[in-house]
Symmetry: C2
Amino acid sequence: MAEVSAPIAELRQRLGASTVLVPDDGLERYERAARGASGVAAFVARPSTVDDVRAVVRWAFAEGIRLIAQGANTGLVGGSVPDATGRVGVLSLERLVGGLVVDPIDRTAIVPAGMTLSALEAAVAPHGLTLAIDIGADPSIGGMAATNAGGSRMVAYGDVRRRVLGVEVVLADADATVVDLLGPLRKDNTGLALHQLFVGSDGSLGVITRVAVELAVRPEATATAWVVPGSDLGVLELLAHAEHDGRAVLSAFELCSREAIDIALAVDADQADPFAGGDRPEVALLVELSGAGDVEGALVEMLASAPDGAIADARVVPPARSWGLRHAISPAMAVAGWVVGMDVSTPRSQLLAFRREARALVSERWPDATIADFGHAGDGGLHFNLVFPRERPPDAHEVEAIRGAVYRLAREHRGSFSAEHGIGPTNAEWWPDHVGAGARRLTAAIVELFDPAAILGHPALPYRSSRSHP
Amino acid sequence: MAEVSAPIAELRQRLGASTVLVPDDGLERYERAARGASGVAAFVARPSTVDDVRAVVRWAFAEGIRLIAQGANTGLVGGSVPDATGRVGVLSLERLVGGLVVDPIDRTAIVPAGMTLSALEAAVAPHGLTLAIDIGADPSIGGMAATNAGGSRMVAYGDVRRRVLGVEVVLADADATVVDLLGPLRKDNTGLALHQLFVGSDGSLGVITRVAVELAVRPEATATAWVVPGSDLGVLELLAHAEHDGRAVLSAFELCSREAIDIALAVDADQADPFAGGDRPEVALLVELSGAGDVEGALVEMLASAPDGAIADARVVPPARSWGLRHAISPAMAVAGWVVGMDVSTPRSQLLAFRREARALVSERWPDATIADFGHAGDGGLHFNLVFPRERPPDAHEVEAIRGAVYRLAREHRGSFSAEHGIGPTNAEWWPDHVGAGARRLTAAIVELFDPAAILGHPALPYRSSRSHP
């Protein structure tokens, strides 16, 4: 048996061998992230109660051992897996799944951190409710809160921050204090909104053990169309028109490049070409309306009344087909080649200009990469992805140069280098360049206040002053 | 001329006599709050540029003089006016009104802190947009952000926190550092959401100078009805039904007691009795739907399809009339007698039970008070107000006993003693009893981190450790 340190052996002894896994147990699934990043875990603690979470945190505080909180390990920036040192432990919340409370009249739920999105949806669907966060993975609720997940329906329902009414957290102090900030109340102005600080904190401030969420009413019907815009300006005109039209709610406004659709159709035989029989357009928009009654009729009328020139072509298709193709893009890219994935945002009004410039820049400097971008144009978000051929992997310097160039361009358009995926090791090095000195200083002070012993969060996170002021 | 201290004279000299007002200039309107609270200002600084805000804060930091940020001075808990010591200055943002930027395609605006809600609405209405915060006052945007205002349409549009994408703040440090956290981006997960910390901070962490907001599409039409619920349970059944119905958006679900309507009709001759010709009901609901097309028809159909027994009576009335009466309640109460105003919330599913118990308790202990409660049942909020006869003002002990009893009951129903009005001197003493030790400790640490010299916020705010751990 591979040796483990005395403190780890002692924790395993105390909490049990099924709660504290060591390398001999096989830790691979906790060590490898969804998008390739991987590391070596010193151990994996899998508490199934808040008391056991506290026991682990108390122990880590006393021993000075760093814990990376992990939910369903679906993050895309490497923030949920340990680094390569083998000195970091994983605090998996996957077994913290008991005690869901749903209040249908209040339209709220208190959700254990380890519960998956699909499990929550299954539990609330009978009440006609939904969390209304649509992402191409099945994360845990705790992970969604810690990273403020966004997704495809944010244009109507907002991000996770919008839906979180409160959290319960275990703090990184000597006593592993539990702080109940759950509410769940819609209106509660009683001082600082501490719970908001944990949303999107990447696990750097405390361990989220429960999340109180506001649920949304599940729409009676949705209808989707693939729309070919008449021009870049047409994209923005159609977006504004669809929002102002009011016949139904605009619940998705997704942009897909021809290359992204090409790859999805080439790799995934289950998907049908929405433009079969004609040329695939350079850009296609997946437009979804939600509501009651004849939503498809509302969609047709909305499209028919769009500003002149905004739409070159539009095809109403069943939601299962349009979303099937949309969600097939990411997995297909990973099969098709070496992906350099970037997740940028700008103000919506800037997105098309940014996109045009970024594609031109990348085409010129990295002509052998396919630019398969797609994303949430309704929120100003774009997954700007390059796919290099299988036989031609980009090296680390190229990846850095690509990110640097694209992120700089996003910033020039008043945008962000991390729209919804968060920081993590993938984006850590760019943080000091893209976040102002004042914000970095406040962040460092808060992180040091909440986690004085530096036992939480991925070691690569750049939030502490030693990193942000090199 | 009344004497002012040398530092104040020096600041007035530096920034000019129209920017720094002293007692001889007449400071009353900065010293008296909307709901009676008043104090004595050492001076009023009214910078019209962010640079001048910085000059005032830098000066206050150096001199150790406390500043209370004030917007339009419409707060209801005394947090925007100085205390009685005469040692505190008012930092009025009312002249910080230049530089509004509206981006109609992005559906965002960057708003100077001093701009009023009505001025912002006037500026964005031509674009078919609205901030969608409906409150019975005309606050400044900076004040709305600092206090996280809520209001009557929160059930559809959320609170100010929901609509704030970013803030620009001047910090209470030696340099009065400006931190630009404006974005404005819908998706921007790049570390801690610092801007969220300032929303609802009651001015205790920094001076908000600009606010980036997401605007909403102004609905084409709204329709309202006064509804008499068949029972307490009927209120909740109708709420759930209206949300799930989906023919249009439920944009308000307000509860008004008979006493509140009686007072509004007795005091305000412009208001018409929606129940003329019959008995006024114990409880009436103002229900509003928003959407496009025949919204009134949608309202009629929604009401007609409500669960059996949920509705005893319903009358569709023009929105101007229903809202006229609803907004007449607060001013009428102030005319009718001595108001003890409380602003509580519970989970929606608990609100009617709380209300029943609170009314029973108050009727028994304070039989000469009229309970004129009303509020935002769709958000679990209730303005639980007692009106004492003009000839029988309650004394301070009674007010404290009333608040204590009602707030305790709210807590027993998992509720809050401050739904949307914030803390301020009015609610400060209740904070330690209603907020947990962990949250108090974190709050104190953050406040001390952001404002080490204790120069910001009302002196009565209980957030610092010396107060929260007496």
